[in-house]
Symmetry: C2
Subunit: 363 residues, 2 copies
DNA sequence: CGTGCGAATGGTAGCGCTAACGTAGCCGCG
DNA sequence: CGCGGCTACGTTAGCGCTACCATTCGCACG
């Protein structure tokens, strides 16, 4: 139960491991890193020594010696703030294990020139690669600028349009289908839909998923009450109002994100409707808002932190490859989402109680 | 306009600066770091060279050579998620300029033993110091554990109880007074208050600020409609409901944080009250929720990112001092807040229109 | 005017790690 | 059997910076 692990002087080094394993430091390094050209027995011995001494390499020394990337940029523009928090948590994890520093900068402007300007300043400063979470992952000016500067980029949740570079996402289409099927299973036949921001590929994927599930059930998606939203609470207020003031309002509403779903709940309450008894409302994303309102939202959970981690890993791997001369062309990683069933959804009014479907299902 | 700044091999080093300034690398190092025992003219020359070459020190080499802290821990427990995002942004800034890595870990449990356990594992792992944002900054078991392990800690927003160690906060009392005075100025005489979690020193400070402002105006705080809340949306729902179902409800409600204020708005809407025409509602914190609902909240803005930055700076300075044998006893930094006036507040119904008071006022 | 002493600077030796090359040992081939 | 070529390691030389000590210089003092 020795614990000489704390950093600083006196920590255990690669030399200690080498001595314990009866090999040279270089061999230990090889084992830890890639591991090419090491006999199996040697590798095992080294790994055991590592285990026993609880050795963890000094990232500072490592990046110094390797002359490696020290800084990864992260350019963000206020997504739902809780999205950012989750994302940063994941990014930090990955950054730490890779021994790189995260450099973050906000880019709130919607103006193309200004975005380009911010990007240029940012990229010139110090970073070796850039991570672009939504909504910036869909910003043409930023992507163009970064491309021109030859800076590796990994986009997150960028639909699937751009078939170059690195991308991490979930399957929005499948997720939206699942959610819609769930509402159908509950017995809903009239289901409203609030679309997301039209510029985002993810919006379209979600909408198509909704339609496909409806069609699959023999319903006509063209006839469903559909309104355009823009991912903001405010736009959800307007869209929800429109849907609920129709002559024959639906018994369920699927909003393309949690903010708009929350807004719709607020509209429903104002109109004296109970959720979910009179009206089911579901969202998408599982941001903190989903559980901070009442009733808590049934929604689709994106593995945000995991996506951030994956993004960084991808980027760092690419950086390594580039250094050794083999840049990757196009890599996409699709992570799995999950349905989270909470209190804002239930069978339609007047339906005979359906078997409740509990828990989460991964895709 | 040369730009040899990108990291990796071939970047400009301290030697380049030394050569340009006509001194040794050692002197440059001294200038950059503390700067003791360097003649003024020499310092100027070095700084000019630094400027001209756009030199920035290699943090990896620095921490390697100095054998310095490489990892600062950050233990969090789901505060309002947007608080976390802001906090992380600030922390990252500071971490990067200091060249340390942020290691973050969540500690959601409320159980004392479990908290201690998590803390122990966390602290044993790797970190040289720990940052504790609220609500963990008030957790006795965590503080005790860290203390026992002799790990430096900086708490954030911890009221002002503990007169040892490092702390960063705002003046909750003054801020609450300001907000209350603002409502009084608008003409409100019946003002409700929703208290924060009773365990938090900040809650008490805010409540006392509210009372003091009321007393100052010749009103009796004992008679005001006051309900206990717990910082959660749900608790706000209950407290808001209670206040509004009183015989003579107030014309304004001051909630101790934004979540509870948002909940109160929701309750008001359900009861057919318009905000702010029929009822003014104000919050505290200026989290993302404040602007993502409608109407947007009048609230007190905490400089969250700046607080995080300050916290890290304090901690890193302390770490340095400890290494040279002079630990600091008690350092507190109080940052300034700001009133943010938005749409959820206005004159009481039936009042003659008061001059609108716009913009933000720093304290 | 020598001595002492502190202030200002330089030289040296690493921090822990990894490229890059060197060197054994082994195999198969002509 | 000698040579090329491979695999599995070890050796050497730093990466960029700072701790530590040595050195120089100026200046006050007896």
């Amino acid at each position: 139960m020795a614990r000489p692990s704390r950093r600083g002087r006196g920590a255990i080094t690669i030399e200690d491991v080498a001595r314990a394993a009866g090999v040279s430091a270089m061999t230990v390094s090889r084992v830890i890193n890639n591991g090419s050209n090491v006999r199996e027995s040697t590798r095992a011995a080294v790994l055991e020594a590592v285990e026993q001494l609880n050795y963890s390499p000094n990232t500072a020394a490592r990046s110094l010696a390797a002359g490696e990337a020290a800084h990864i940029g992260l350019l963000y523009a206020n997504p739902s703030a809780s999205y950012l928090a989750q994302f940063l948590i994941g990014a930090l994890h990955a950054a730490r294990s890779a021994g790189v520093h995260l450099v973050i900068e906000s880019c709130e402007s919607e103006d193309a020139d200004e975005q380009a300007e911010v990007t240029r300043r940012f990229a010139t400063s110090d970073v070796e690669g850039v991570v672009l979470p939504p909504p910036l992952s869909e910003s043409i000016p930023i992507l163009a600028e970064l491309d021109a500067m030859q800076i590796p980029v990994v986009t997150v949740a960028m639909g699937s349009a751009r078939a170059v570079g690195l991308n991490v996402r979930i399957d929005d289409h499948a997720a939206a289908m699942e959610m819609t099927r769930y509402l159908l299973e509950l017995g809903h036949r009239e289901i409203g839909f609030i679309k997301g921001h039209p510029n985002h590929v993810a919006s379209q994927d979600r909408y198509r998923g909704f339609c496909d599930a409806l069609n699959e059930a023999g319903l006509d998606c063209e006839k469903a009450p559909i309104e355009q939203g823009y991912f903001s609470y405010r736009s959800g207020l307007i869209a929800g109002e429109r849907i609920l003031s129709r002559a024959n309002p639906p018994s369920a509403i699927f909003a393309s994100n949690d903010d708009m779903a929350a807004a719709t709940i607020s509209v429903a309450h104002r109109r004296g409707l109970n959720v979910p008894q009179d009206l089911s409302i579901v969202g998408f994303d599982d941001t903190a808002l989903a559980t901070s309102i009442w009733p808590e939202l049934t929604t689709v959970k994106q593995p945000i932190a995991a996506m951030a981690e994956a993004a960084l890993e991808l980027l760092i791997a690419d950086l390594r490859q580039r250094r050794s001369g083999t840049p990757q062309k196009f890599v996409e990683r699709v992570l799995s989402h999950a349905m989270i069933i909470r209190e804002s959804s239930g069978p339609p009014p007047g339906a005979r109680p359906a078997k409740s479907r509990k828990g989460a299902k991964a895709s």
